[in-house]
Symmetry: C2
Subunit: 524 residues, 2 copies
């Protein structure tokens, strides 16, 4: 596929702005071929007008057609073959093996949502039959189901050029819900974005769907995204990225004449609590496990364990020494782009500059976007007094908080902001201690792990990749797993509606296999 560098606005291509930008290989600093353009306000407007016009037609095309459409996108992405992975690798510095896995996840997500909407369980079908004889007033027939919320803005994430980008989880769940999607491509992998975007546009055309079902816009700075979020036709926003970016989009959306929901997943420090006996028994294993989790993907996962909480005592010194050794062995690797590199180094400078923070190891990198791990420690008392130590440093670093006792460990837990994950490492004899910690962590995190490490987010029904602010801007949602579809639906009730006018899933003669709550009892 030869890249053209243009926006995809419905079935047309467009590039009205004169200024251009290019992607850069972070491993070498080399600009890559093909110039891309910032979308103009007129281009943003065209994309959303088309999306708005497409909404009811696309949704009413039906679940089976939408499922086939999602599957066609997966097939199309696979058909792009190695050139997609090569371009993605050049734009992000991520190795081909990782991108191969990410492509698998991307296509699996599309197929998971196809299966979900074929099954129809996301519709939350409810039927309450009429009772015409009821006194003092007759009871009407009421039926409700989840409908598509309308056009969705999706922001591609830099750290998942496939799985949280143009055809990633946000797009897949929004399309599955029946919502047209306008994607803002991440400016650091515009070529990857174009390749996948053209696959979606082709799938739209092949399926005979309205062209406004999908558009892809490029933009280097913040202006294009701001324009998108403020467009009157936009009805929801999906975003994975930095706290600053997510909050800015949230504020724009909340300030609209018609506020719209923003589902921004902004990452967190994902605390790991190392209980005393577990630490005493397994210091070396834990240190090696943490090292692998901290440095996976050069620490550029939202679930990177950026905070370790332990009690001073047996095993702690061995743990710290082993972890430092393991981190030192990790070679310099390129971060995704220069912005992340600058943020990582300045974040570490800030962290290490706090009085009482003791640096154990900080590797120095030689290349422009290169990074090496960092480990620091701080006494709990100081951590509790310094809210800035609670903030994420995006990259392969972690901070160990040393507590006097388990009570102080609980105080640390209570002091934390909202998190995507919280992990308890405990021995089988420490379940009572876990029982004291768990009610705190359940309030702080979207996912609580017993053992293991937070990186690696399983894509399934029971996954919650979300959590209280500032992990996300909406703790009532998940951006991974089948539950993600509910970000983009809203319930609609039909009262005394004739069978012929009802959505088919709510008819007495509905297709088989649907689960419905009928007069309070589950059927099917």
């Amino acid at each position: 596929m030869e890249l053209h560098g243009q926006h995809l606005i419905g079935s047309a291509t467009s590039a009205e702005a004169e200024a251009t930008f290019t992607a850069i290989d972070p491993r070498t600093g080399t600009p890559l071929a093909t110039a891309f353009h910032d979308a103009t306000p007129a281009e943003v407007d065209r994309a959303f007008r088309l999306a708005d016009a497409a909404h009811p037609t696309f949704e009413n095309h039906g679940r089976t057609a939408r499922a086939a459409f999602l599957e066609a996108i997966a097939v199309g992405i696979e058909a792009l073959g190695d050139p997609l992975l090569e371009r993605a690798s050049a734009e992000t510095g991520l190795p081909l093996a990782r991108l191969t896995g990410e492509r698998g996840r991307t296509c699996a997500q599309l197929r998971m949502f196809a299966a979900l909407i074929r099954n129809g369980s996301h519709l939350d079908l409810r039927i309450d039959h009429a009772d015409r004889e009821r006194q003092p007033l007759p009871k009407p027939d009421l039926r409700s189901m989840n409908r598509a919320i309308g056009p969705v803005c999706v922001f591609g994430a830099s750290n998942f050029p496939l799985a949280f980008s143009v055809a990633g989880g946000d797009t897949a769940s929004a399309l599955a819900a029946g919502c047209p999607v306008v994607v803002k491509a991440h400016p650091n992998h515009p070529g990857t974005s174009e390749m996948v975007g053209r696959v979606i546009a082709e799938a739209v055309a092949n399926a005979g769907l309205p062209e406004g079902t999908f558009s892809l816009l490029h933009g280097e700075g913040h202006a294009v995204g701001a324009e998108m979020v403020q467009h009157p036709a936009a009805k929801a926003v999906g975003f994975t990225g930095s706290f600053r970016g997510g909050r800015a989009l949230f504020d724009l959306a909340a300030g609209r004449r018609e506020p719209i929901p923003v589902f921004a997943e902004m990452g967190s420090i994902n605390p790991v609590f190392l209980l005393p006996e577990r630490l005493a028994r397994s210091a070396v294993d834990l240190a090696n496990g943490i090292s692998a989790s901290v440095t996976l993907g050069v620490g550029q996962f939202c679930t990177n364990p950026g905070l370790l909480v332990a009690v001073n005592g047996p095993g702690l010194d061995e743990f710290v020494a082993t972890l430092a050794d393991a981190l030192q062995e990790v070679e310099e690797t390129a971060l995704l782009h220069q912005g992340i590199k600058v943020g990582y180094e300045s974040g570490l400078d800030r962290l290490c500059g706090v009085d009482g923070v003791e640096l154990v190891f900080r590797g120095s990198a030689e290349r422009a976007c290169g990074a090496r791990p960092c480990l620091a420690t701080v006494p709990a008392k100081l951590f509790l007094a310094q809210p800035e130590l609670h903030q994420e440093v995006f990259g392969p670093s972690t901070l160990l908080v040393a507590c006097r006792d388990v009570e102080e460990m609980r105080a640390v837990a209570r002091a934390l902001d909202g998190q995507l994950t919280a992990t308890i490492q405990a021995s089988d004899d420490e379940l009572a201690l876990c029982g004291d910690l768990l009610p705190i962590l359940e309030q702080k995190a979207g996912r609580v792990l017993f053992g293991g490490y937070p990186t690696g987010v399983e894509v399934c029904h029971a996954m919650v990749h979300g959590g209280p602010y500032p992990a996300t801007t909406d703790s009532r949602s998940t951006s991974v797993g089948t539950g993600a579809i509910h970000r983009f639906t809203r319930p609609v009730a039909y009262q005394n509606m004739p069978e012929a006018l009802l959505p088919e899933e709510l008819r007495d003669a509905a297709p088989g296999g649907l689960s419905r709550l009928v007069d309070g009892e589950r059927e099917g």
Copy 2:
């Protein structure tokens, strides 16, 4: 019950502010006995600190205990007997018969949520079993369920002194979810609020729940509510009231360091589309039905049909004449309070002052809070050009939009803001026309009716009392029916958690009768 006029802050009473206010009987303008105080910032802070401390204990008390607690509140409200209804009638001007019905609804809602949480279907239990052999990585065991979001601010509504007030739908659904509640009593019925609040406080004590489970604060102006919504421990807001009030709370909540969701139901104009043949055949019946719906409860329902949309042609003149006659026969009745009276009359002045709006009937009222109905008409072309005609006038008035043809009727539908309801009145021969209108109305409203009138909101599983902005600030929610509980829950996932640490509903050995999604298949 002798009123004391104090706040209920956990198990204590408090009244630290010196300035006081009293309720006024809107039928006579007479101040009622008992002085109430504005809550001070320190009192607000105490209520939320107690709520925050109560949260995990209250939730972990378990569903059965919470269900019994909700039922005890219903029993306690019934035990207040006639004095509750009499005080509510004196504070609102609503007749005893209406308040008797509203008390029944209030207690039925509490019992409905008790039954819901006993059943556990709101928990959305999901289990994905581990697969330790999976390649390239083992699959973890993941289980998720809905948990309580945390302390909820509930604002009592003026137009439902029982069913959307201290123990109304917002409080019942929040407590059912396991959230402590801090209620801001509506200043126009503080005595009714105290009576019900004391019932809840007593139920908290009798059930051995933490005292912070419930608090009730008074306040005449906006300051107390603003303080509440901005308290760091508040995690969600339930509100039913004016657009201005709801939007102000939304803006405060969105501007917090940690933004919190606001579920504000702000009303709408609830359009009724009168299709040509139906109008030609049933002009008189429709006129009488509309008249009853417009004037029910002196037009003070969120679902009041404030907009009628018809096509010029057979039946329209007869419809307008009959409706005007019916409205003229409705006697002057007291609105809830002076603020609503002022808003009603100035809203009508604004409406009637628009060029092209033709006044058919506007009754004049003689008493301070008295109101009589109003009917005006406007050509569709003008309605489309004048967005201010799309705004709600809260009270017993309605505006008829006369269209050239059904295409213009659809243009009117497209031009509307978000609505709680939209109603189609059509004959059986007009289903094709309905089919053209329905896809528009589904995008505009939370509930679409075929026949009937929008007032009368059934409390059941399939009800959606919500809708796109400005009907509410969150179209993904309902404030009536069992779905209302989801406003106050968020999902939490547990990864590889030992059976003993899991919430009992997610254990392998869970209590019987729970519906769970196990590896994608529904069980139970």
